[in-house]
């Protein structure tokens, strides 16, 4: 709270005060009152008047200054009432009480939203759980009763499962609650799991799954990493080129303080203009438009999961040559602590 604006705000009181002083002086002069009396009365009036101003200013300034500066400093401005004391003057009390009520109702609203959001997520998780039962049942049934269309149905089932898992991990990366577990994970075993899941498509499309000698271990959540790699492999399959020797090459680069897992394909590539945006939510880009069936969510979710795990996801590409996606695992202190 600044003094000058405060003073200007009280300009009418000042004018009225000055006017009444002038009138009193004029009355005194009309009655020819002694000059010393006039002086002393005016001094008393002036001093008490100024005193009133200053007291009123100092009573308010603490409350209002704290209110304005604290609400600017806090990253959650709505918590400001917790940082200031209750004011001692009437107006302040009104403001304080109203702010308190507003806060309360806002928090109730937010909590209600949060509750609904949480319930919705719980429902989605339950739904995913339920939908996987018929999925398993169909998969087993077509395997038990082999028929012509077995592979076609299996492929569609795989797609269905992928979409369901995308929702699962979207919910997971959105939740504030931590439900990952960092462990020492053998990269080769995760790559194997992802390979097995995609084996039929890879064989059918005659894409070489070329895993080079990988024996590194990293600290991560193996299920999350499996999903992340799954998204990358899915894209490599989806955006392959119509050439004879399609491949997905997987290898690691070891540096002093990090390990990078590289997944490289010789597919259609990504235009440079799209490259920066592929990790954005709902971004489909040119390839998505040409090939269709792109939700723009896969890489976004993968990127968010990597961020939560402390890995770095990056991408390089050249149209009609290659796409190279790298996951970098840092061997930093954080993991040392967990060890």
């Amino acid at each position: 709270m600044k003094f000058l604006p405060f003073l200007l705000d009280k300009i009418y009181a000042l004018i009225i005060g000055l006017c009444s002083l002038v009138i009193i002086l004029l009355i005194f002069m009309a009655f020819r009152v002694d000059i010393s009396i006039i002086l002393s009365v005016s001094i008393v009036l002036l001093v008490s008047y100024l005193l009133l101003f200053f007291i009123s200013y100092f009573r308010k300034t603490k409350f209002y200054s704290d209110l304005t500066s604290n609400s600017k400093m806090l990253d959650k401005a709505y918590l400001v009432l917790e940082t200031i004391g209750e004011p001692t003057f009437y107006e302040g009390k009104i403001i304080y009480d109203v702010l308190y009520e507003i806060n309360k109702s806002m928090l109730e609203n937010v909590n209600e939203e949060k509750r609904q959001n949480r319930e919705f997520k719980e429902y989605v998780l339950m739904w995913i759980h339920e939908v996987k039962i018929p999925l398993s049942s169909i998969l087993l049934t077509i395997s038990n009763h082999k028929g012509k269309r077995e592979n076609q149905i299996k492929r569609d089932l795989k797609r269905l499962e992928d979409y369901v898992n995308q929702v699962l991990y979207y919910v997971r990366q959105e939740s504030a609650e931590v439900d990952y577990l960092i462990n020492e994970v053998d990269l080769a075993s995760v790559i194997k799991e992802v390979g097995l899941k995609n084996m039929n498509v890879l064989l059918e499309e005659n894409i070489l799954y070329d895993v080079q000698n990988i024996h590194e271990k990293v600290f991560t959540d193996s299920k999350w990493l499996e999903f992340i790699l799954g998204q990358i492999i899915n894209n490599a399959i989806k955006y392959r080129r119509n050439i004879k020797k399609s491949y997905i090459k997987i290898y690691t680069i070891r540096k002093k303080d990090n390990i990078t897992l590289v997944i490289e394909d010789n597919g259609i590539g990504i235009p440079a203009s799209d490259l920066k945006q592929v990790f954005n939510k709902s971004f489909t880009g040119e390839n998505g438009r040409i090939r269709g069936k792109s939700t723009g969510m896969g890489l976004y979710i993968a990127y968010s999961l990597c961020e939560k795990l402390g890995h770095k996801l990056s991408i390089e590409s050249e149209v009609n040559k290659f796409t190279r996606v790298s996951v970098t695992f840092y061997c930093n202190d954080y993991y040392e602590v967990i060890k």
């Binding site: 998780l125 995913i128 759980h129 996987k132 039962i133 999925l135 398993s136 049942s137 169909i138 998969l139 087993l140 049934t141 395997s143 038990n144 089932l157 499962e161 699962l168 439900d179 990952y180 577990l181 462990n183 080769a188 194997k192 390979g195 097995l196 899941k197 084996m199 039929n200 064989l203 005659n206 070489l208 799954y209 070329d210 895993v211 959540d221 193996s222 299920k223 999350w224």
Partner: protein, 242 residues
């Protein structure tokens, strides 16, 4: 040579089912009836004796009275949570348990392993992979040896050799994975898909052509010990040992 043995032992994990001994009994703990029935059929088709748990309220008693060689335990079952059932089961029995769940999470997996599960699979499971996992867990619990028998052949999976009398041939890793899989399922036709799954599960990510090449090389090697006709091709279905 010693070095080589080690490598093979590591490589061939998960494909050795002791099919030549008595049939293993597997108990299915799954409350979705249709799924349980299909699962039983899959297991029976693959030469396991399979039973479905009926009484979820007294699950523990039923498991003990059935006395299975392996339990496939779903986490979400009525009355008991699968995990607490596992905990109670571990107080009285060491029977191998594979946990089944639909929400894959590292936390779930870790908790199950701590509670004494031997492995963990997530729905929807690929049947071939599920069978491989079951085989691997049973092999571990039965302490099956690295040696398989087929007629008068002695197959050493960890050394990668086949002996017939004084003759011995050495197989590559891929050939051994294929041949031992065929031997372990000698009573039925093995699909290319199964062989492929078994190879990929052992980190051999080969393609269709390579599988064909491997099989013809394997045939050629078997020919040198008089078993050139052993692997029979069933068109569009797969292979079977004669």
């Amino acid at each position: 040579m010693l070095q080589k043995c080690k490598v093979y032992r590591h490589i061939i994990h998960g494909i050795i089912i002791n099919g030549c001994e008595n049939m293993n009994k597997i108990l299915i703990v799954e409350d979705d009836e249709k799924l349980a029935l299909e699962l039983r059929r899959l297991l029976q088709d693959n030469n396991y004796e399979a039973e479905i748990l009926n009484d979820f309220e007294h699950a523990l008693d039923e498991i003990i009275s059935v006395n299975p060689d392996l339990v496939l335990l779903d986490i979400n079952i009525p009355f008991f949570n699968g995990r607490s059932l596992l905990k109670n089961l571990r107080d009285v029995s060491n029977v191998p348990v594979i946990m089944v769940t639909s929400l894959l999470s590292e936390m779930d997996e870790a908790l199950s392993i701590i509670n004494g599960a031997d492995d963990y699979v997530t729905k929807p499971y690929n049947p071939n992979i599920l069978l491989l996992r079951i085989g691997a867990v049973l092999k571990r619990s039965n302490n099956a040896s690295d040696t398989l028998m087929y007629k008068d052949l002695i197959i050493n999976t960890s050394r990668g050799t086949i002996k017939r009398g004084v003759d011995e041939i050495i197989l590559t890793k891929n050939e051994m994975i294929i041949f031992s899989y065929l031997v372990m399922h000698k009573e039925r036709i093995v699909s290319r898909d199964e062989l492929m799954t078994s190879l990929w599960d052992n980190d051999e990510f080969i393609n269709d052509n390579a599988l064909t090449v491997n099989i013809s090389r394997l045939r050629a090697k078997l020919n040198t010990i008089g078993y050139g006709e052993a692997i029979d091709t069933r068109k569009k279905v797969g292979y079977i040992l004669k």
